[in-house]
């Protein structure tokens, strides 16, 4: 082991690919934001630069924290975040129908963005502590604690309501759980559950039923806008002027970009504000409309770079804690990207979720950069622990 560590004691301990792709993506995001928030909007790109530097500063601190301290802090961080989410119910600021914000002086903080990290740290700590080399697969009993760790904050986010973030947290959790290697029984049960939920979806939304005596399993419990989104996702032409309007306008924006795009600041869907939340959730449609397909591919390559670099960090981690944190952060970034671009291009129903490093917003930017800071921390840790 010492030889290996000695070999790695070099500058390459720093995850340069990760840093490069993150900085490039952020730069592309700021460039794109300048167009999305063109006059008469306020120039959000300037604030975004500020958020990047704040986030980077926090990331540097995170990267240099003693890894042991970080592990010890996992439980308090998790609890504080949970407390913040509960407090949100009482002191939160309501915006666009959801209680997602704290207002502290001039700053608006979105606790859910930080909860994700707390949740990942907590789960990583569990899997680290619960390592049993004799029992390489996880049965139901051993999966219950991480499931509970994930379920509590996810449920709290869901009732805000913030379906997008909750889904992302759920998907990330599933990814981490799968990564932890569940037993065959778990796979079989999960498979049955998956088929069951597809069945519910089919019964509630696809099957043609008599409107009066319709038998639905969960549909009648959903809120009206949630129901409309699922309907709209399954049948994009069902309600073009209503809930599907934004989905359609977003597809128009993306589709009209073509191979080469309309040019920076030239996007008409953007300039004329046909897109909702075009600087946050729908930022990708602005990029696609103005930059075109080729640059969209470029952006996906950048994300692939971030993800693979993050997985590289995971692969290089000497401890399960670091590996799980790194995989969790990669999964978190992946699912945000997948959900966001999927939603903007009509592949998935519209849920509010930001595109990492591209969407405008301090909380989103800072939480992603904290994740990057953690990755750097893990990457550097193997060097120091090797000494």
């Amino acid at each position: 082991m010492m030889e290996l560590s000695a070999e790695r004691r070099s500058v390459s301990q720093m995850p340069w690919l990760l840093l490069l792709t993150v900085v490039l993506t952020t730069a592309v995001g700021i460039y794109n934001l300048a167009s999305a928030s063109r006059p008469p909007s306020s120039p959000m790109w300037a604030s975004q630069i500020a958020y990047f530097f704040i986030g980077s500063a926090i990331a540097v601190v995170v990267a240099w924290i003693d890894p042991k301290l970080l592990e010890r802090l996992a439980i308090p961080i998790y609890l504080v975040n949970l407390g913040a989410l509960v407090a949100l119910k009482f002191f939160g600021h309501k915006a666009k129908g959801a209680e997602s914000w704290f207002i502290v002086g001039p700053v608006r903080v979105q606790p859910a963005e930080f909860m994700k990290i707390g949740m990942l740290l907590m789960m990583a700590k569990y899997f680290h502590d619960d390592y049993r080399p004799q029992q390489p697969t996880y049965g139901f009993l051993r999966l219950i604690p991480p499931a509970v760790i994930a379920l509590i904050p996810t449920a709290l986010v869901l009732v805000q309501p913030d379906l997008g973030t909750a889904l992302m947290m759920a998907f990330t959790t599933v990814t981490v759980l799968v990564f932890a290697r569940p037993s065959l029984t778990v796979w079989i049960v999960a498979g049955v559950l998956a088929i069951g939920s597809v069945g519910v979806l089919w019964n509630d939304y696809v099957r043609v039923q008599n409107t009066e005596q319709r038998f639905t399993i969960i549909r009648h419990k959903l809120k009206k806008h949630q129901d409309a989104r699922i309907t709209g996702w399954l049948d994009p032409t069902s309600d073009l002027k209503g809930s599907n309007y934004h989905a359609m306008q977003s597809k128009i924006a993306v589709g009209s970009g073509g191979v080469n795009g309309k040019g920076w600041m030239e996007g008409t869907q953007t300039g004329l504000r046909y897109l909702p939340e075009q600087h946050t959730d729908f930022i990708f449609s602005v990029f696609a409309e103005e930059q075109g397909y080729l640059k969209c591919l470029g952006l996906l390559v950048l994300y692939a770079g971030i993800l693979l670099a993050a997985l590289g960090v995971a692969a290089g981690a000497k401890e399960r804690f670091g590996a799980f944190v790194a995989v969790g952060i990669a999964a978190m970034i992946f699912w945000q990207v997948f959900e966001n671009i999927g939603m903007v291009t009509g592949l998935l129903p519209i849920t509010g979720i930001t595109l990492p490093l591209m969407s405008y917003g301090g909380s989103s930017m800072v939480s992603v950069l904290i994740g990057i800071g953690l990755l750097i921390n893990i990457s550097l840790k193997r060097q120091r622990s090797g000494l």
Binding site: Y131, I252, L307, V327
Partner: protein, 679 residues
Amino acid sequence: MIKLGQKSDAKDLKTRIIGVGVFFVAGLLVLSINLYRLMVVRYEEFNALSVDNQFKDVRLRAPRGLIRDRRGEVLVDARPSLDVFITPAFCQKCPVEVLPRIAEVLQWDEEQRLKVEAMVKAAHGPQRYQPLIAAVDISRDEFDQLLAKQFLLPGVDLEPVPHRSYRAGPTLAHILGYMNEITQEEITKLNGMVERPPYALGDYIGRRGVERSFEHAIRGNDGWVKHVVNARGEVMRDVRGNILRGGQSEAPTPGKNVVLSLDARLQAEAERAFPGTAGAVIAMETKTGFIRAMVSRPAFDPNEMTGRVSPKRLFQLNQDPLQPMVFRAGAEHYHPGSTFKVVTLLAALQAGVMTPTSTVNCSGGYTLGSRRWRCHNERGHGSVDAKRALQVSCDTYFYRSADLMGIDPIASMGKLFGLGAVANLGVAAEVPGVMPDSAYHQKYTPGGYTKGMALNTAIGQGDVNVTPLQLAVLYSAVGNKGHVFQPQIVQRIESPEGQVVESFVPKQVREIPMTDEQYKLIIDALVSVVNEPGGTAFRTRSADYTIAGKTGTAQVAKLGTVRLKKEQMDYFERDHAWFASFAPAEDPELTVIVLNEHGGHGGSDAAPTAAAVFAKYFELKKADSFALGEEWVPPKPPKPVFYSKPNPAAPPDVSDPGLAGDVPPPPEATVQAPTGAPR
């Protein structure tokens, strides 16, 4: 619990990390394939949608052409109507604050305010950005009051909007017509399948008269621009506040002006001089058929009908027993009475049953079979020849003629003059009237044709019915020796710059063969009606020019045994008074027809109006010739009248129409104070 950094080894995770990596890359591939589908495969479709999103076609209204009289005086143009618009999206606290403020200034009642409130509240979505009309034609004072309060009225716009203005009000209403909003059916019919349809909902379209018949010329072609709009339908502006426009556009083509053959001054005189409650006055150029003045009374106000009429008022207009909406000059027919006698006379002469010199002895009536047809002069006119028969309007003479030739020669002559068929002025609805012949009676009259019907027709009673317009054509043809013209009122169409686009020429329909002798006889007879003592319109004569004319008194109600004065009868049972004339007799220029509906006698209640119109016509002609530097050739004065002892065969009739009635005198020239004090 396992100590950190000791047994919790991470080496077994490597393959799984690769698996996760493969999954991530696969996910991103799915995204890139979906993007390819949208951005490359379906690019055309989405690009077209985004272009549609971006632009809104905005119509540029073409200004509608003017209607002018022959001298260029504007009869119809546009005036600014001060309108109040409310854009619901920008109208904050609309029902609570803004509307009550407007209601206070405009003195709306509760009902009106609630109506506007409902309209504002009904707008949803992008409609909220469309301005709604809240009030039209507010007064200048109200406009100024609202303008002063505008900072308290968010979302309220005050704008002068061009509105069609009929300067002379009800004068010429039937000829000029009016406009109102187009219906959905008309849009479907008129627009056809063109890319940029000419009409849209909310447009006004000509409804009657020239406005309707010349809609294609007056309307012009709307232009359009592409305005850049945002998702809410708001028009986008650049930093300087200019409206952002798309690439293509087309400027509007203004409508063409229609120039009528009317002379507004003569029209005003005809309106003034006509004393009747209802009826028509037509002044037509004898040798061309162009209309110089045309009164149809009562009339409606086209300014009111053009988008300013309430359903209640419309109901009133339609219920009015005098029927102001009816175009009496052409769309209503009447018995022509004695004015028809020229047709009978010419028919008799041409059929050979009468010669200019053959006489009939009038003993106050004519007996055919067992029935006696009365002459209007119960004491009889004695022996009358053709000229005298017309001059004194002796019914007996024409009864005799009809008895000799039957109805068909009269009907053929009438049809040659254009009776029984629409005169085809072309700008308003017209009726053909009735020119009965034996076939007509066989078909429609119970019991078929009998000779008595010819006798009735001969004096313009029975089934014969003419419109004033037909009579104008008829008397013009008499005056110009048989040339029947189609009446016209539009002289030419001009471009907005005044270039003649289309000029209308006289349209002769046919020529009636007429010998010089016949022509001279009829002219002499018609001149004697006006210019010789005993003529039924003797009081109408002028000392400066010779008027030829014929009075007519058409019975409306069946005569009882006792003759009643018109004042003793109900209005709707009184006779129609006719006067048909042209002047100067030697070389007729102007034909004037007067119909005073239920007015009484032709000589007293119709002829003076014609005299006033002739007087004005020659006065204007003189004034214009001086103004234009042309040589003024005064018309030949008539032969001086010698008051000899009355003709014993025709003692003055007590009911002689020439003895009563007159035109109101022209208004005295008022001397205006230099300060322009109100009159």
